[in-house]
């Protein structure tokens, strides 16, 4: 049995598919592709799938991946990519099909591109001048206080076409996972940002040594 990692984007329309729904969407897309994917045994057979580092609803990404299994050997990756490209919904583009190099547990950081309206400059300045920015994060064991300044002491931005472009590097994966929404919510609650005007795009998933997860 071989594991195949399918890399895809999740943008536009597709950014509004929740993880639960995404599982069903993938299940059906794989079925439409007629590729020889492996089904679990048992009473309700379904396609075996594992997603690495799922994304919150509404955020976009260039680096989503799902692992499936196949009995095909060797795996014809080119055919897989072609077959999958034809069956995906709008906003999901298959960028690569490959044998996995790393385990999902090895993901330690993620890079995001956040876009805010030009008017949000004051909120950013406000944040940058603060010494401390504590947010409460829901965890499995209740609430946990997190000092955002540990991870984002100052946030640089670039003004372009009436928008502010920001690059964020945040811890991700199974250990500490900080999503930009935590920071954005802080800006909304404390620095007057309208969070619904923000868009978030995940551009990289990184390992401990800052190499791309692949």
């Amino acid at each position: 049995m071989t594991t195949v990692r399918i890399w895809f984007t999740k943008t536009g329309e597709a950014s509004y598919i929740s993880l639960l729904d995404l599982q069903r969407v993938m299940q059906r897309s794989l079925k439409r592709s007629a590729l020889p994917v492996w089904y679990t045994m048992g009473f309700n057979p379904h396609i075996y799938m594992t997603f690495a580092s799922p994304l919150p609803l509404g955020q976009e990404s260039l680096v989503e991946s799902v692992d499936v299994k196949t009995a095909q050997d060797p795996v014809d990756l080119e055919t897989w990519q072609q077959a999958l490209s034809k069956v995906m919904p709008l906003g999901i583009q298959v960028t690569k099909v490959a044998r996995p190099a790393h385990k999902a547990e090895e993901i330690k950081f993620a890079r995001y591109r956040v876009v805010l309206p030009a008017g949000a400059k004051t909120s950013l300045e406000d944040y940058n001048q603060r010494e401390s920015a504590v947010v409460m994060k829901k965890t499995k064991r209740g609430q946990k206080a997190i000092e955002l300044k540990e991870y984002l002491p100052k946030v640089a931005y670039e003004e372009q076409d009436g928008q502010l472009k920001i690059e964020l590097l945040l811890p991700a994966g199974e250990g500490t996972n900080l999503n930009p929404s935590l920071w954005l919510t802080f800006l909304q609650d404390n620095c007057g940002l309208n969070i619904t005007e923000a868009s978030v795009l995940r551009t990289h998933l990184l390992l401990e040594n800052m190499q791309d997860f692949s």
Binding site: E13, A14, H46, G58, P89
Partner: protein
Amino acid sequence: MFDPKLKEALARVQKPGRYTGGEPGCVIKNKDEVDLRFAFCFPDTYEVGMSFLGMKILYELLNEHPRWWCERAFMPWLDMKEEMERLHLPTYALESKDPLTAFDIVGFTLQYELSYTNILAMLDMAGIPLYSKDRDESWPLVVAGGPCVCNAEPIADFIDMMMLGEGELQLPEVCATVEQAKKEGISKKELLRRLAKIEGCYVPSFYDVTYQEDGRIQAVTPNEPCAPAVVHKAIIKDMNSQKLPTNFVVPMVGAVHDRAQIEVLRGCVRGCRFCQAGFIYRPMRQRDAQLLNRAAQDLCANTGYEEISLTSLSTSDHGQLEELLDDMAPWTEKEHVSISLPSLRIDNFTESLIEKTTKVRKSGLTFAPEAGTQRLRDVINKNITWEEIEKTCNLAFKAGYTSVKLYFMMGLPTETLEDIEGIAKTAQQIVELYYANPDKPKVRSVQVTISCACFVPKPHTPFQFVPQDTEEMLREKQQHLLHSVHSKKIHVNYHDSKTSFLEAVFAKGDRRLAPVIEAAYRKGCVFDGWDECFQYDTWMETFQQFGLDTAFYANRMIGLDEVTPWSHLDYGISHEFLVREYKKATQAQTTQPCNRVCSACGANKLLGGACFDYSKDLVH
């Protein structure tokens, strides 16, 4: 890529995936290359609308035409409606995200009377004037189809044209006519004149309705030479001539019925006297098993669905059902697709049917005896007996089923408290059957659920004449049912009688209701079919405000020779037949299924000959 305002709205609402489109199977065309744009509007939520087979059939049919583009629009749920109003976002279609005003035709499907206010909301939020008379040719043509068109007189003033019967036939002709009209630049009135000539097309503004002093209808008279005195529904004579859909838009956020569906037959032979669908879709026409098997396989391959349902009003009446299931078995098993059979009847449920459908999973068993005593089942012509219920339950228990759901109606004509007790007794007897069955599954206990709806008399049925029970009567019957159930294995659900009451008013309503519906909408009534949204008091106050008596519509016996708001709409069933059936009902006399004996309802004229070959034995 998304409008920033739309993005903002989506960031604030529950399940935003309902409002984005982009699902697999959705059709995107270049709007500069199309000559006609059709917005298919479902006046309820995305989840409900995406379950509806009719939309999928017509979506594929219209989009096959290279110069036409059919898109979908749904009623936004309350949170999204509020956001859209706040941000001045008009009702839009999911494919292009263009507002409804960008379309040539805005078409609503009328599946349920209580979605009327949603139609107004969808028009209003798009900035389209509600009344047909206030829209000239610069506005989209607003049309409607679906079962409620058989008496959509309450909303007739809002709709430019309604389509009676089967849309596969008339809709392409309507689109071609509108496309031509656009090219010629003719007036809306002239366009409507042309449309009125198409089979099944009904232009409400071409008819004047006069009333008697007591509120009953005097006459419905055409005011245009081109308008026929009676509009006849369009019908597909041979279902095998009509291609089955081979692809669906596959929803990504849970639709109510999220599975592949193939329609094995249309119409129904049974003639249950309360069932509107059983009369307006007559005669029953079935598709060949071979054709169905091929279509089912294509549909599953194209959609990736893991479940396929063989749908119709009464699937077990298909003459080749077992053959079809045998044909489907090899590929469904190989592709991990399960088959589900809704609308089975108790009287022809066989052991091999159970076996064929439960290979993959065993869920609950659902039946609809509809009434609790044999006498009342004879009144409504639900021709099933206790012996058949017994036989079927025994089969099901033996096959491993442990839960049975039973559908009943309350408030049926001639019903007494004894009939209500009969509902509880039927459920109790099924519980006892389970424990008496030597082959029942070990250890587990049985669960019988009674689901009780309130009877709503509907036009074009033999019960169109009868009054609906008043709320007090229905409440009393509901209490009586609860007191008649003594077992913990029996669970009772019943519907709110207030929504059924409004449903009855609309179902048999006339054109005088239009301003009431508009006013109620302006006061905030939408999603009236949803218990959490239904504003009974607002409705009653509005009826009062317009001086209309709801009991006149819902709780009055209609004379057997009375002109009704729907007298000019013909579904092939003769008035004499409805009267005959009504009289038989009052004497608890049954009528045979029409593939066994023809009861001369008149629908055979639609096919131009007998509906069935009676030399063959068609009943199993």
